[in-house]
Symmetry: C5
């Protein structure tokens, strides 16, 4: 297919597509939910800021209409619909295009991602998300409605920061869950490692590989926004981007720490298997070393030779029993000394 | 041999060499297939764009002629014919020279590459390929013929982008196939690892080494095209190169993820061997620990001493049998507790 | 929560919050301890330097008041209260904001951190710390009081250097303790490795991961201060920051060396397990190889065949005993040669 | 010794020192071989280019004379004679000094190096080599003699390129030989790994370490020549240096690939040892598990109790034999199911 | 303690402190040894160069006096006395301060370091060393005395180069000793690896970690001197620093190579343990597999059943013996085929 062809790639949400449009300024606030796009929004020249949030990407026509109204490049629309993008930020002069990954913990503690695309224009923000997970932007909508804090006064670039911050904050939640699992596993690997332990370590390692892939490029993305000379991000907002950048670095730090810890656990697990093999061997060796000589002695006096003087000796049997006991005790002492028992 | 000597290095295609010449503009389209090069093509000053595609490199004379007509440097022609080049991009002022690797999955899921060399002039593109695999450019030819999309209007640099994009898109197909194999292997390594499993892991790891070698330099190549101030790539086209750059980074990401996953699998495989050795040891130890004492007792009463009072006792035999049963049961309980059974 | 919301994250100190205010100049020195903040400190225009040190962060109101008086950005206050920050330095024009981690060895040689935040203004320093550990700044307070050395004459930027230096010097103390533990462990791993040894190695490796996370960003932080063109750090003080930078690099060097040593120890430990398994195997093999043939021979002459001429031979029994002795001795010599004994 | 003292370090060639002097221009060609240096060559102002090639470095006086004539720095002469240099390129204004390593496969496929030093002046090249291996520059001499190709017309910088190219081309030959050995080893490690296999892997790994040490700096060297603004390398020649740079990168790529492959092989080898231990264990366990119960039963009826009713039963013996057969068959079926047989 | 406090940290030399003062010019040379510093040296304006060499750092007063005379910063004096510095170079405008590590092989081939600090002024050099090892600068003193070579004519910066060069040259001696040990170990690990082998590898690995820590920063230090625009190092001397820089890179290369080799050896050692375990297992399995069936058969005919027809058969005994021999021979052939013997 030629580049710029719009195809939706990824899981399809069952829910209906929801488009919410919020128009706000320091003193005004208006919110509506729409189902169809009959005409373009002309907020370019408005003194207020606008935020269009689209949850659900499976109706291509809607995305195209929204994009055409604002003059979005077809390649950008293609990237919005292809939910296997890497996080990235691109400056198109009139608008900034940002792709992020939202995390959600699926069943069995599997980590899944949902793609969120943001377009930051002069006084508007458009956010596209797959709509598979719960709305991550609910608290921001709440804050806008309340009009408390700086959010209403600070314009569209601050809104974009708030959206990114909401997503990055969510990472900490996921990491905390994983951290707890790792702590449990660590206790298990020391106390009672089994076959399942190793599969758990393996599973968590895969999650880490997955997480890294989602978060590493994010650092670069936010770093580029912070350093950026885009006129769409005002100097006053840069300090906020620096803050969310710090959070991202912290997320990456934590992931790397978890990876190191999981590698360490694998070492512990492997050496505990070796240890147990060693202990099984010791048991076998102790048993064999004690009973082999005894069995041999018993066999010796079970021979049917005619001329075996011991056989006729009165105290031979008790003497042999005592000899056997001495051998056993000697062996046990020897093994005790060698710390095999 | 002196540098610039033209020698064809690499597999020889059996098919005949095919040269297709396409001349196109926003409104015009002409296509012909030629077998011999009797005269040079003079499209330098034309208002249309031209694309010459040569499939099969084993007739050196044809390559030389084509090159000489357009004033291509002999070293470039040498690189085109030597199909063991690394991907690279070189700016010669009048034209850009780009070497890429196309992937194809051979039998037994072995990955093979085919070299594609592109020359981008002011209003022409020449593509050379080994012609071993199926034509990767068929869809582009189709799009040119149809005249749909932007492709006819956007000139030679956009065509080069399209060709590179077609090749990079093909990587995803190969990666998907490998991804499925890795998923299968992962299931196998957990459920039922055998000797073949490890050879599979090894084989896939080698494929990854091979892939990396082909794709890593590609990133650099496309990155340099994107950043490049070559006057042959117009600013309007740069955004497309940025897009294909993103794809390449995604390919590399996936390869690295696969490598990590394969390393993880090898760990699982190795620890599963250790685990099994451990289990075999346990069986042996259980058997030996139960039967050695019993055999010893049996041997004891098989001794031929004259004075063994037990032998004459009426209930000795059943008593010994009961003793043996007690020992066995005791052992089994002990092993049960130690979780060896 | 909206960004800039002040929430105290981290362990809560039991002690009361202590705010100490020191005002000093080359010739003057004044110190007081206050419990409440009723009015702002106006030291902006003073010719003396001031240092406010707050130990304990659990009364948010105090932090806010202090911050508002000096015009500190709300995000900075948020970072001060969130004690899970990464070390960092940020220049806000009017003041520098620095976050550091102080180390303390908890029980069981666990390493814990305490966050210290520093704000360097034109002629004032504010330091915030969690107040969990003992006061790390006591010696500096002492030096200020004494008025010896350069500290009183050199202004606020030198004071910040002194505070950072006190924290970094503390790292060396912690590292020394860890170094001794590693040396002990090294002796143990060579002489008498047990299950506990490996858990110790594992524990120390985790400590190293933890330490790295705290110290690596510190290097960057101090490096940025040293190179910084902030007008708050005068050229005369830069040489001191270079000195503390050297110390940080030394700390990192030592951590990396410890990590390498612990990895090496793990290798020694693992190969010592393998070695011991090997030795247990040898014991088992020697025992089995000696007694199996002897037991077989004894069994042979325990058979009840009617026609076994040896049984009736006079010297058969001693001959068999001698044969058995010869076999045993032969085996022992063989194993001696193979170095299994 | 003071710096600049001339001492020959390295293997001494047995052959006599050979100095060949070639003077060439687009139309002229003169070649002579000399044994002694009685006077300096004054080719500084000539319109032709000159190439002095010295094979064998053990006569220090010759090197000094040659160097003094052209005003070469004593440190350079010291480096020429010390054949343990790293590859490097240094610009001394009037001349460029380049040190390279030539590879040669010694006996037992050991890789040895020979140092080649090049001095590029305005219109002359001096090459020094140890003279241990065959003359690597013979084809270039041939090309100069023939006067074919560009070599005569393109001056001293092109000659230097040709010399470097000849050396780098030789690397591919060595790598091909190593590649074949690695392929053989790969087949062996999968089909029939023995103790020798591992020593082979080890040996090849050492060769790779050795190769890397020789080739990695080369990349830097040629890269610096390519980027260099030395007036001794004309823009027209830079494209050739770019070409040889590509070759070097390819050599490094291949070395890294070989290293990865050898690491992979070591993994396969180690897991194949584990696998075999596992199989040996299985055989032992099967044997012990079958015979221990049988031997116990036999021992049971070998006891000499007076009152053992079974002993007098007519069909006891065949019954016991059948019981034993059943036990054996049962065990075998069990092991078949467990896939141990 | 406040920064700039002078404390001697490190081993204390037993020898007396020796201060040698050398004053030299192209034609003059004066040398004296002094014990006390009663007045400052005023060589600032002299046309000759001066070199003060202090061996032994345990008299703090001497260092302070020397430093104060030349106006050395207290932090520099602190660094000179603290012998746990990292190698570094710092430019203080009027003088350059350089810290280096000298290596010496202690007993048991342990590597120890001695700190050497150099101060390069306009026409003077002051060198401080711990005085634990033999004087590394003796040959330089000799060369100055002789007046041969360039050393007297080239000034203080050349002298600093000579001192650094002497130290770096000493590294090669230490590396050579280590290289021989590694070669011996390599032979041992292949031919006859024992428990000591591994401890040797471990010990050498630690030495490498230690060496790396001392040498890596050195590269940076000398690199910065070479690139430096300090007016204290004249352009004519830079070429010499480039030379010693090359040597440092060579030292680092060698260390990395040794590290790689030691890692390779550890792999060989570990797999040789596995191999031997495997061989011990084979011996055990062979013994058990041969004797278990034989012992069983012997036990079978040792049973006391009344009705065992074979017992009465004349040729039963020899027949059983032949059967046993056949079983043994069969087993041996089987193991021969499986290459276990």
């Amino acid at each position: 297919m030629p580049p710029g062809t719009l195809v939706h790639i990824g899981e399809r949400s069952d829910r209906e597509i929801k488009i919410s449009v919020i128009d706000y300024g320091p003193t005004s606030y208006e919110e509506k939910e729409i189902a169809a796009l009959n005409e373009c929004f002309y907020f370019m020249d408005a003194t207020t800021s606008s935020w269009i949030d689209m949850a659900g990407l499976h109706e291509i026509e809607l995305v195209r209409k929204l994009g055409d109204c604002q003059g979005i490049h077809p390649l950008v629309l293609e990237d919005i619909l292809n939910t296997e993008q890497r996080p990235k930020a691109e400056d198109f002069g009139d608008y900034l295009f940002i792709v992020l990954k939202m995390l959600r913990l699926g069943e069995n503690a599997e980590i899944a991602t949902e793609q969120v695309s943001l377009i930051l224009g002069k006084n508007f923000v458009i956010s596209f998300r797959e709509g598979l997970a719960a709305d991550p932007f609910a608290p921001i909508r709440e804050r806008l409605r309340d009009g408390k804090g700086r959010i209403r006064a600070l314009g569209a670039d601050y809104l974009v920061y708030s959206l990114i911050d909401a997503i990055v904050d969510n990472y900490f939640v996921v990491l905390e869950t994983l951290g707890e699992q790792i702590d449990d596993l660590e206790a298990e690997v020391v106390a009672n490692p089994g076959r399942g332990t190793q599969q758990q370590i393996h599973r968590l390692k895969r999650s880490m590989i997955f997480l890294r892939k989602a978060v590493w490029p994010l650092r670069e993305v936010i770093g580029s926004l912070e350093r950026h000379d885009s006129r769409l991000i005002r100097p006053a907002t840069v300090v906020y981007f620096r803050d969310v950048y710090d959070h991202t670095v912290q997320v990456i730090d934590t992931i790397e720490t978890f990876r190191d810890m999981l590698s360490g656990m694998l070492d512990v697990y492997l050496s505990s298997i070796s240890n147990r093999t060693n202990e099984v061997m010791k048991v076998l060796t102790v048993i064999a070393t004690i009973f082999m000589p005894l069995t041999f002695i018993a066999g010796l006096y079970g021979m049917n030779f005619k001329y075996m003087p011991e056989l006729d000796w009165r105290w031979a049997y008790p003497a042999v029993l005592i000899l056997m006991a001495l051998i056993s005790v000697g062996m046990l002492i020897y093994f005790k000394r060698k710390k095999w028992l």
